[in-house]
């Protein structure tokens, strides 16, 4: 039976400089993550702007494309799906907030709400339901982004405090 211990490189405790660099990398990553949430919000607002205008910036769908896509779902089913999606998203975000679980980016929400705009557009009832999708999107993505921002800010604050402690300890040792 071999009594050999762990590899010397694994056993080696990382140096102070290495640790500092890792903390700084974590801070950058969290700041980037906070920015992704903002970008998803901007994306949603841009899609909403296009939807408000009835997607007139895009060419009209040809009959062939419409035939390929098939019959659009009934408007009431889309609305029901929108309510269920918005409600469950808000509840899920609030649950994550209460348990302090890592938030995720809002890109998925932006994609889903874009899909809702598209379905309403294809059903020909986008004008009547635009504000419903817009306010549902703003509330879901606003809450998600707020949590992402506050969670990242708190984590960044802790990492900066750790860096500050390391800096003070380093100065003390040198002194």
């Amino acid at each position: 039976m071999s009594q050999a211990g762990p590899h010397p490189e694994v056993q080696q405790i990382p140096g102070r400089e290495d640790l500092r660099q890792r903390i700084e990398a974590r801070i950058r990553r969290m700041e980037r993550a906070s920015g992704y949430g903002l970008w998803s919000m901007v994306l949603f607002l841009l899609v909403s702007l296009a939807a408000f205008d009835g997607f007139s910036i895009f060419p009209d769908l040809s009959e062939d494309v419409r035939k390929f896509l098939g019959a659009p779902p009934p408007g009431q089913m889309i609305s029901l799906a929108l309510v269920v999606y918005a409600f469950s998203s808000i509840v899920r975000t609030l649950a994550r907030m209460s348990r302090n679980i890592q938030p995720y980016m809002g890109l998925m929400h932006a994609a889903f709400f874009t899909a809702f705009y598209s379905f309403y557009y294809l059903s020909g009832i986008l004008q009547d339901n635009f504000w419903a999708v817009f306010f549902a999107g703003i509330s879901v993505m606003g809450l998600e982004n707020y949590y992402l921002w506050s969670h990242s800010s708190e984590a960044v604050r802790k990492e900066r405090a750790l860096l500050e402690t390391m800096r003070r300890n380093g100065d003390g040792e040198r002194g």
Binding site: G75, Q76, S79, L82, V83, A86, F87, I90, T93, L94, I125, D128, N129, W131, A132, V133, F134, F135, A136, I138, S139, V140, G142, L143, Y146, Y147, S150
Partner: protein, 281 residues
């Protein structure tokens, strides 16, 4: 803005609830509007059926005066914006507006193009497809129904006046009713929903804010003030009566403060003892 616990806890939740309630209200309004419009369309379709049935006998007898009178009488009713019967070629035979008689209908106009969009005209339409909504020349919102008048055995068999049996469509009735009452109802519904949603939001958010403030934020603020001021060993008499976790927290603060005071007193006593011993020596 988000530095205090109040704003961190209340603002995001209040915004999310507000957005969700507004979205639900818009959807609810759309549902109700759809139902009302469908009801209105059904009502107009029933009206067109009634007109066709009441003019059937006059058509069979080819009694054009009676037919013209019936159309004029129906056209004089409140909320009826127009009523006309035109033949298969689109020539208006009877109308409330005498100026329209003997004029051709534009087949590409709204309502006609439902059937005449393709090379071959459709022979029948569903109830909802028969309806069209537009603003007429007088600026009134109109819901119009085009109902086909089909050939029947009695029409092709009578001796006095006949159509060929193979001719399936004899003409079309076009009747338009004003949408003003519907628009008024929808406007009232919109205003009531806005008021109701506003009250629900104010009450919900207000109640949550009030409860959070009295049960959580105010006791926390008192505790924070107490710990920051460090003015005594015990909590003030005006400290609110609390139960549960907040009471335990307050108790823990109080015990910790007493303990710190005790340690400070001992430290001072030890210091004074050692200084007196030094002075004796």
């Amino acid at each position: 803005m988000f530095s205090s616990i109040n704003s961190r806890a209340i603002v995001p939740v209040a915004c999310a609830v507000t957005g969700f309630v507004i979205a639900c209200c818009v959807l609810l309004y759309t549902f109700v509007k759809d139902d009302l419009v469908k009801g209105e369309i059904q009502h107009a379709v029933d009206l067109s059926d009634t007109v066709i049935k009441s003019t059937r006998y006059a058509m069979l007898k080819d009694d054009r005066d009676t037919l013209s009178n019936i159309i004029s009488s129906i056209g004089e009713q409140n909320q009826v914006e127009h009523v006309r019967i035109f033949n298969k070629k689109g020539l208006i035979m009877f109308s409330r507006d005498a100026r329209e008689v003997d004029q051709f209908i534009d087949k590409s106009a709204a309502g006609c193009n439902e059937c005449h969009a393709g090379t071959v005209a459709k022979r029948s339409l569903g109830t909802m497809a028969k309806a069209r909504q537009f603003t007429n020349a007088e600026g009134h919102d109109v819901l119009a129904i085009t109902a086909p008048i089909y050939n029947e055995p009695e029409c092709s068999n009578v001796a006095c006046h006949f159509h060929e049996a193979r001719q399936s469509l004899l003409g079309t009735l076009d009747i338009g009713v004003s949408q003003a009452p519907l628009k008024q109802t929808l406007g009232q519904l919109q205003n009531r929903m806005i008021m109701f949603s506003g009250m629900v939001l104010v009450l919900t958010v207000g109640a949550v804010c009030a409860l959070l403030y009295s049960q959580v934020f105010l006791p926390i603020k008192k505790l924070v003030d107490f710990t920051e001021a460090s003015r005594g060993d015990i909590l003030d008499d005006d400290f609110p009566e609390m139960s549960g976790d907040m009471a335990r927290l307050a108790d823990a603060f109080q015990k910790m403060t007493c303990r710190v005071r005790e340690l400070e007193r001992r430290d001072q006593a030890k210091g004074s003892k050692s200084s007196s011993r030094e002075s004796l020596l």
